[in-house]
Point group: C2
Chain length 238, copies 2
């Protein structure tokens, strides 16, 4: 039986401060938990219904819980069989040479960050550098919306101004009057900067862009969703 | 002062059944409400804080409400100055010739539908045909996430099987083993079919695809988000 204290401790991990203090995060559902089990993430403990435990042998510490207990500790509208407490990964400083790296300048919406991670994974990009004011990658909504891509894409929080200052690699950024992205050549190396949902790329970060690109449109929408823009840019550049 | 009954009536419009019965829907926030005022939508009544009313002259019926009253009738985490009760639009049967039309086969997530409407607007597509099991376009989460694009893109619910059967226009659909979309020519006419988030394009609808396309990827993500895929496909085809 799940103790009151253990339930409380799991629920506490839905708050960033407690995730930071403990270095842990929560992931839910068979698909995500099974992908994490087969990844370089270290799982601290799995809580699962009998029906999941029967089908999944693991050396990780597990606890059988009831549907009612799962509902108590879950953050999902429809809790699904299993929930894992996972250790956050210590990621090495990023290598920028000979690869394409995404830099996020203040993405705020957890769903957008999760979807951007999934898009990066689709195009084989394994490193995302996020500004310090970007939403926490270990936010449960981010983790769930990566659909498992969190296992293959590292997200590193950095002072992106200092990082951009220190590298000579070409910096691509989507702006209103850049070169049409559908006329550009594919690239093997570069940094692609994605701006905040409401304000785009910040003024200070913009000054580092040396390859301004635009997604041609002909309608009246003011902007594209950040994850959609990332997908379109990568589909033309990678 | 906002009466209890009027507040109840507004809240009732957050449920599809009541929207269907009354032919009304709710839109919130200055940007969206002001775009709707300048669109072909007919607004039944606007509820707004004094500060918005001072700056917006309109012939539409308005009622000044307090922040507390706005919070009571709002569906948003952070209610923003104004809320409108809007009449649903009667849309004419779609014309498919000489244009690109999106067909949605069972999109379930309101945020995805809203973002797809925004993407369509970006690329100048003014008609989306949704299968009858697609989420309701007048769902408040859909309306808000269109960011105003609902004013320029018509969403029509139809029996898409019957519609696909009746037209000879080329039907593009994203599948796993299609032609790479980045090698395709731009099109002036066509139907682009977007599938459900979890299951893709249904079997019955798939049988109508006569131009199978694929978004090349090199990572391990199983799929792309439906709105991201729509954006990538349109950026190559339009």
């Amino acid at each position: 039986m799940l103790s009151k204290n253990e339930a409380k401790y799991i629920q506490s991990l839905y708050h960033k401060k407690n995730r930071d203090d403990t270095g842990l995060f929560i992931a839910e559902g068979p698909k995500l938990v099974e992908e994490l089990l087969n990844s370089s993430f270290e799982i601290k403990k799995i809580y699962a219904l009998k029906d999941w435990l029967i089908n999944n042998a693991t050396t990780v510490q597990v606890e059988e819980i009831t549907q009612q207990e799962l509902e108590r500790i879950s953050n999902q509208a429809g809790p699904n069989k299993t929930l894992a407490v996972v250790k956050q990964k210590k990621v090495k400083p990023p290598v920028l040479e000979n690869r394409i790296t995404l830099i996020l300048d203040g993405i705020q919406d957890p769903g957008n960050l999760g979807t951007i991670i999934r898009v990066a994974d689709w195009f084989g990009i394994d490193t995302i550098i996020a500004s310090e004011n970007t939403v926490d990658v270990y936010n449960p909504k981010v983790i769930q919306s990566t659909m498992g891509s969190i296992c293959r894409v590292n997200v590193i929080y950095e002072n992106i101004i200092a990082l951009l200052k220190a590298t000579k690699i070409t910096k691509y950024g989507a702006v209103l009057n850049g070169a049409p992205v559908n006329g550009m050549n594919k690239i093997k190396e570069g940094i692609l900067i994605i701006g905040n949902e409401g304000n785009g790329i910040s003024k200070e970060v913009s000054s580092f862009i040396n390859a301004a690109v635009t997604i041609p449109g002909k309608g009246n929408a003011e902007s594209l969703n950040a994850a959609v823009a990332t997908g379109i840019l990568l589909s033309h550049l990678v």
